[in-house]
């Protein structure tokens, strides 16, 4: 009997666990005491801790010790603007941790004040899901596949993996949520089947994920059972609640025209607002299957009974802008991925809000009615479902599988390719970025480049790791640094140090440096010491990089020319020391001073001027 590898969708508001059931030979979503999806909430009390629905339902009586939405800050530093922004709206306290500047959550637990890292909170959610899986399967569960948003960076992935480890899980793989959604529909298997029958080349899948508060669109490329994330986009603050807000406003207008004094009371009463919001949310759900729905709240305030009928067309009119934004995002992401309408073979719907018929129709029409939308898997469970498919493939080495995994049998080496969102590299002399792994390289990947020393007899090298697209490291994001000592003692340029970047399937970066002669070695795993980038920052950096590429090219040219100039001057120096002509000695000293003191801020033209002096005086071509 193979050991099960469960699939976990660790969501911002809700989490879900699924596992391949060997008896039914199907992936099953496992019910926890909180239901098929569990609120990602943890609450601390004098008696102990509560997780899931139990934690959420007692928030009113214990708001300071009830923790939720930690996914918004996991893997981020305390100084990250996102952490600060989110912390403002949290009722629980978030402070700066002493060691690495990571955020810590303060709670009273069993009569003691405790400081907990976001990873620890997530671990509690994961442990609860693990327990539910163990009860369901009747055996211990040790391994899991956990999903993260496609835009999660290294640190966020590492932190999620750490959370798994704290929960006692061996995290076999961290996969992207859209990739998991594609797997849940067995698109990898479908591809195989089609390949066996008809000839079909590389295809693309669009994943449309509209949840309670976030919206993500991804384009995945599929080729011979290999998935690759080509582009992602979306809005971290767009979801079901926004549609509710539009209906809320409409209701309030309705009340206003009926009775101004009631309107004022409703507006001021938190209770009336909450009750109306609940009714509105319910109405929105009904409208996904009916053409009209009633919003009815008796005694909303005083004796005022609020009853109104909303039909589907009105609902669509109220939210037309938001729906348009969603569809526009799909177009943008497709354009980023350089993917045409006819290149797409499947569209997968994820998240409760994708049940809205108008959105489905818009997507269907966008692809000229050519593609049936994948919506048969419960939209709130598709990601966990897909993670379990991946877990099963890993558990059985790809050779096992039931009917719904029939295609998987044929693809023992199913690879899930995610890409690195930003280029990774190290700092060179002159603050130049030397890229080892280019942006959008499928992971896992490994790359080694050889570097050398700048000064004579230098035995130590600082290896500073950056991510970003700019040629100058100052414009990129520093990830960490380490020192390699024991480098061969030799003249500048003689030692050879291999620097290796290994980005594993979970997107975690291991950097190592080794001297080819002395075998001295140093390595580092990138730790969350510094504030990392948000998805917006990444987008901005990429946009900036495009914009500044010309500038950067000039900078590169300047740096190259400067080192050529240095080289030429050193050669000249040895020549001048032999001839010892006074005018030449003076000229050289001036040039050396200029190089040392003024060259930093000099333009390329000014440098070339110096180059011409060298050429004219000593006949050296500087290039």
């Amino acid at each position: 009997m193979t050991e099960p590898i469960i699939g976990i969708d660790l969501g911002t508001t809700y989490s879900c666990v699924a596992c391949y059931d060997t008896k039914t030979q199907k992936v099953e979503v496992i019910e926890s005491p909180s239901g098929r999806t569990m609120p990602s909430w943890v609450s601390f009390t004098p008696e102990g801790k509560l997780v899931g629905m139990a934690a959420k339902s007692q928030v009113a009586s214990n708001p300071l010790n009830t923790v939720y939405d930690v996914k918004r800050i996991i893997g981020r530093s305390f100084n990250d603007p996102v952490t600060a922004e989110e912390a403002k709206s949290f009722p629980f306290r978030v402070v700066e941790g002493s060691a690495h500047g990571e955020p810590k959550i303060i709670v009273d637990w069993r009569g003691e004040t405790k400081e907990l890292r976001p990873e620890e909170i997530s671990a509690m959610v994961l442990a609860e899901l693990k327990l539910a899986a163990e009860r369901h399967l009747g055996q211990p569960v040790k391994s899991a596949v956990i999903t993260v948003p496609a835009h999660f960076n290294n640190q966020q992935r590492q932190a999620t993996k750490d959370a798994g480890r704290i929960a006692g899980l061996d995290v076999k793989r961290i996969i992207n949520e859209p990739t998991a959604a594609a797997l849940s529909y067995g698109l990898h298997a479908k591809k195989e089947n089609e390949a066996n029958g008809t000839t079909q080349g590389k295809t693309n899948v669009v994943i449309f994920d509209l949840g309670g508060g976030t919206f993500d669109v991804s384009v995945l490329a599929m080729d011979s059972g290999v998935f690759e994330v080509k582009a992602t986009g979306g809005d971290t603050h767009l979801g079901g609640e926004d549609f509710d807000n539009a209906i809320m406003d409409w209701c309030m207008e309705h009340i206003k025209t009926k009775d101004a004094s009631v309107y004022k009371q409703v507006k001021e009463s938190a209770r009336a607002q909450s009750r109306l919001r609940r009714a509105v949310e319910n109405c929105k759900r009904v409208l996904s299957s009916s053409m009209s729905a009633e919003i009815e709240v008796d005694s909303l305030v005083g004796n005022f009974d609020f009853v109104v009928t909303l039909d589907r067309s009105k609902f669509e009119e109220l939210n037309a802008n938001l729906f348009k934004r969603c569809i526009d995002t799909v177009k943008e992401v497709m354009s980023d991925a350089a993917c045409k309408i006819e290149d797409v073979s499947d569209i997968v719907l994820v998240g409760g809000s994708t049940r809205i018929p108008c959105l489905q129709t818009a997507l269907y029409d966008m692809f000229n009615g050519r593609i049936e939308l994948c919506k048969s898997v419960h939209p709130d469970e598709a990601v966990a479902h897909g993670a379990a498919v991946q877990g099963h493939i890993l558990a059985t080495g790809g050779s096992g599988g039931g009917r719904d995994l029939a295609g998987a049998e044929a693809m023992t080496d199913l690879l899930l390719l995610d890409v690195t969102p930003l280029s990774l590299g190290i700092e060179l002399e002159g603050k130049q970025m030397s890229t080892l792994i280019k942006r959008n390289t499928p992971i896992p990947c490994k790359k080694t480049r050889t570097y050398t020393t700048v000064d004579d007899w230098q035995t130590e090298i600082d290896v500073v790791v950056y991510e970003g697209e700019r040629a100058h490291v100052d414009a990129n994001n520093k990830l960490g640094s380490f020192v390699i000592s024991g480098v061969q003692r030799a003249r500048a340029g003689e030692p050879k140090v291999d620097v290796t970047f290994a980005l594993d399937a979970n997107g975690i970066l291991n950097v190592s440096a080794r001297d080819q002669v002395t075998n001295a070695e140093a390595r580092a795993q990138i730790k969350a010491e510094k504030g990392r980038l948000t998805a917006e920052d990444i987008d901005k950096m990429i946009a900036d990089a495009e914009q500044y590429r010309a500038k950067d090219d000039e900078l590169n040219e300047k740096i190259d020319y400067k080192s050529a100039l240095e080289e030429a001057l050193f050669t000249v120096q040895s020549k001048v020391s032999e001839t010892n002509k006074p005018n030449e000695v003076k000229e050289l000293a001036d040039l050396m001073d200029w190089l040392e003191l003024d060259s930093e801020s000099a333009s390329l033209e000014e440098m070339k001027k110096r180059g011409r002096v060298i050429e004219d005086t000593w006949g050296f071509i500087v290039a």
Binding site: V59, A60, S61, A270, R271, S274, R275, R278, A279, N282, V297, D298, S299
Partner: protein, 103 residues
């Protein structure tokens, strides 16, 4: 005793009496839910009086109870709707009293 049941009109124990009116069955589910929620309101009030929970908590819990009350389906039954309304009033009273004592 046989003579007594015959005396009141029951023969061979074929006749039984309805404990509730015919409408009750239709509303039963709703009524049962409302009874439970009524008890919840009373519990909040007791906790409030015993200072187990503060006003802010009372307000939040009452909002939750009101939302649950709104969720009780009346299926068009006026009687049930009346009971539901009275429960809302009862819940709001607890919140009101709590607010007053806070001031």
């Amino acid at each position: 005793n046989g003579s007594t049941t015959t005396g009141i009109g029951l023969e061979n124990r074929t006749k039984i009496l309805l404990f509730h009116s015919p409408l009750y069955e239709q509303d039963r589910e709703g009524i049962e839910k409302l009874i439970l929620l009524s008890k919840e309101i009373e519990r909040i009030d007791t906790d409030r009086q015993n200072h187990v929970i503060d006003n802010k908590t009372v307000q939040e819990l009452i909002i939750q109870v009101c939302c649950k009350l709104d969720c009780v389906e009346t299926h068009g039954s006026e009687a049930l709707r009346k009971v539901r309304k009275s429960m809302i009033v009862k819940a709001e009273n607890v919140a009101h009293v709590s607010d007053m004592s806070e001031r």
